[in-house]
Symmetry: C2
């Protein structure tokens, strides 16, 4: 027990140690097995009758060669149900992802649960500087915090866009930052072959392995989104194929906001989501049989009065639970998200995120993407939200630990010793255990009102501001072999020159 | 679908209609059946070997007459395990509670889920007036809001103490307020025979029934707490017996904060909780075989560095899940709570409450007491927290509604009609459903950042302040027969005179 609870305390901020998580609970089921089949059949009909518009030539070539019905002019691909089922069955149900630090490998699928940080926002915000376009300096600070927060297993492909770096070379600077500031695994970008290929080169370089090794020891993953409904754009299909060819896992995630990009019903949104997800998994198998995939579910809904996307809603929780059932039907790991539409780190941000985290964990999610930091429907990465979410995730990680019931924990002697009307503060049973008995928060303030008020009456968001600053002040990069760092720099600088001259 | 979603809109605040809830999910289990038995046996050993200190003479008389081992001098009662099991088995597994409005009856036990408002705080707070001792005017406003919020099934026995009313007559003014301002069921106080007996009289009067009728149609409930560890005080045992004798249900709730009033381990706290809960249920059966009980679980933990109570913690979630298993083992309805230690309506208040609400609902809770309004470890009833919790509960109520999967909801025609790259805003399938397709929030703001910022950049807590004021401004009391109101006034005034002259 003492070992399990051992904490890493940095400047008074105690955290539970980095640990892989296994979900002990049987996943919640919201639809019947028959209803899962109904959604499955509906999605196969969509793929057979409506089809998917595929903008990438490489993908069209692969699809045409596979025998799928390809309308080259319309770039529309229709798939025979039997072929889809055969291809999807080739994707493994579990896989392991390596990181720079060999101890930080992650397992996907089964009952494994991975918490990944936010990826993708264009803006960044904190209480001091407000909301602004992201810069490389912001991104690096954010990545340092992702490294410092032990509850986060993984970086998510750029917590915010470093908009001060030119787009053609941006991915190189991002990857160099991930590879040097983190010893955890990270996501690469997925829009096109170049950003994938450069990531593969860096992963090989940092881990000291060849591209062949990397196939046997996957070390990168990325998110591939459809342009829902039923469209896969060229850069995305190119990126998907490049990842698959090199044996690196893809999180195939349709962007099915019900009412806008998918039917206004949760069942209809799921049918469309399932069609698009299966399509991507099948395409990957054409590129490399046995290609690694995570089934991504991102079904939520829009506010039909304004068209604004909503997250952490009851509909999104239902979609999460049903998506878990669908992913398990195909034997695929399942990705969901911690999302909120709130514009500020307030009670709404907390309750929408809790809805999403509980919906995911109760549904048996394997990869909780956007796990920490996401604000404002994903437009902003917030420094305070990162800390708030770290607390939410760390609490959840502790709920998943076993409740020990044995003679010692039942404590009958202590109950007899204290007797009616006494208290347990001084009992031997308490003294032996009190330091590690209970969850110790990162952010929560449990002091009484008077003490809290005298100390400044700070809200959780204001306290989060202090926490990230302290973590950042005390951040130390994980040790990196200087020769590797040098080789990494040389690669990045060479590629920047190449891109610069060819651009 | 339209009917289910029909909303009551008051001044722009849309709510889902008042509805009873049934939890469709199989309760989560955190301990094995064997471990449930271990806790059960440990608690029976506590009752047999350590016993409970009982301060009330009436209870001691009943216990002695039953054959339990009663040490009159020490007021210590030890129970034979077989006798406890026999008595507990007499308590029904389900019951129905009537309200003034016959349509607002509630079912307890099974898969039924009841959301009850906060009960008991001494303080009240809102953003305008801050934190202060409660007054009768505050209490009445708060009760009006409990009436106005359709997601709340029940009032909880006084959302805050009206400290400006003398204690001996306070209960009468509270009951008159509940009976006139609400047509929902409410909790009476439980400390002694007088407060119970006056409540029974008022319940009969308002419902137009006799005391014998009331036994057949229970219409009141109350919380009875132990003074943990293992002590039942005189007013509480008297109140418990008075409720049982008159056929009104009791929520028997040990106050087992691990580390302080119970062992520092969750298993030990559960063993003690179970001993105390079973003791109260058994005592009630001695007063009236078949007396109605809800198994109350309130196990959380203290912060061992300060002794301050903590709520919504991982340990409290585990205790919730295990308590549900224990209550079901005895065939008793189970009560849990929505609790937070936060001193302010912030992100912490939201995430701790979400932990408690999800822990309860996933565990199959039947009565979620303190469901809305509780702040600061139960010391304060907050007007803004009431609205925040109403949103949290209403979202959860919607998660519990079925996900419809049928030909119409799968929407294949809509997917075919829209096709790749289109959008669903104008599809016939959308237009037929958009008004009622999705959850509509009370509090959440889903507008984009710019619109939200231009409109004042209000946090959820600031918006909650507006919501309760608007609900209060538009509140209308439920119609009450003037003859009943007159009889109620006459009763209250007579009792006040009696208490005043005898006091």
């Amino acid at each position: 027990m003492t070992t399990r609870r051992a904490r890493r305390t940095v400047g008074g901020i105690a955290q539970l140690p980095w640990r892989r998580l296994v979900n002990p609970f049987r996943p919640l089921e919201i639809v019947s097995a028959d209803e899962v089949e109904s959604i499955h059949r509906a999605s196969l009909r969509v793929l057979a009758e409506v089809g998917v518009e595929v903008l990438g030539d490489l993908a069209l070539d692969l699809l045409a060669a596979s025998g799928a019905a390809v309308d080259r002019l319309a770039r529309r691909v229709r798939f025979d149900p039997a072929q889809i089922e055969e291809l999807v069955a080739l994707a493994p149900s579990t896989f392991r992802l390596q990181a720079r630090n060999p101890e930080r490998f992650l397992d996907f699928g089964g009952r494994n649960l991975v918490f990944c940080a936010v990826g993708g926002p264009a803006f960044v915000s904190d209480l001091d500087r407000g909301r602004r376009a992201g810069t490389f300096a912001d991104m690096c600070d954010y990545v340092r915090l992702i490294g410092a927060l032990d509850v986060l297993h993984q970086e998510g492909g750029g917590p915010l866009e470093p908009t001060d770096i030119p787009v053609p070379i941006r991915h190189l600077e991002m990857y160099r930052a991930f590879a040097t500031l983190l010893d955890k695994s990270w996501h690469c970008l997925g829009f096109g072959r170049t950003v994938v290929d450069d990531a593969i080169e860096i992963a090989c370089l940092v881990r000291g392995v060849t591209r062949d090794d990397l196939v046997r020891e996957p070390s990168l993953m990325t998110i591939i989104n459809t342009n829902s409904p039923l469209r896969l754009d060229g850069p995305m299909s190119d990126g998907l194929i490049e990842m698959a060819v090199h044996g690196q896992p893809v999180v195939a995630t349709p962007f099915t906001l019900a009412g806008a990009m998918s039917p206004v019903t949760v069942a209809g949104a799921l049918a469309e989501q399932n069609a698009e997800a299966l399509f991507m998994v099948a395409l990957g198998q054409l590129a490399r049989p046995g290609a690694l995939f995570v089934y991504g579910g991102f079904t939520s809904n829009v506010d039909m009065r304004t068209g604004a996307p909503a997250f952490g809603t009851p509909e999104s929780v239902k979609a999460q639970l049903a998506t878990g059932q669908l992913a398990r039907r195909y034997g695929l790991p399942w990705r969901s998200s911690n999302a909120t539409a709130s514009n500020v780190v307030d009670a709404q941000a907390a309750y929408e995120s809790e809805m999403a985290v509980w919906g995911g964990v109760m549904g048996g999610v394997n990869l909780l993407y956007q796990g920490a930091g996401w604000l404002e429907g994903g437009l902003t990465a917030s420094f305070e939200k990162l800390i708030l979410d770290a607390e939410i995730l760390q609490m959840m990680s502790e709920v998943l630990q076993p409740l020990v019931v044995d003679e010692a924990s039942l404590g009958l002697e202590a109950i007899a010793e204290v007797g009616p009307g006494g208290h347990f503060f001084g009992a031997a049973h308490t003294l032996e255990r009190y330091e590690t008995a209970f969850y110790r928060p990162i952010l929560s303030d449990w002091r009484n009102f008077e003490t809290w008020a005298e100390d400044g009456a700070r809200t959780a968001t204001e306290r989060a501001n202090r926490v990230w600053k302290q973590l950042l002040a005390e951040y130390e990069p994980p040790p990196l072999d200087p020769a590797v760092a040098e080789a990494l720099d040389a690669f990045v600088e060479r590629r920047k020159r190449e891109i610069g001259t060819s651009g």
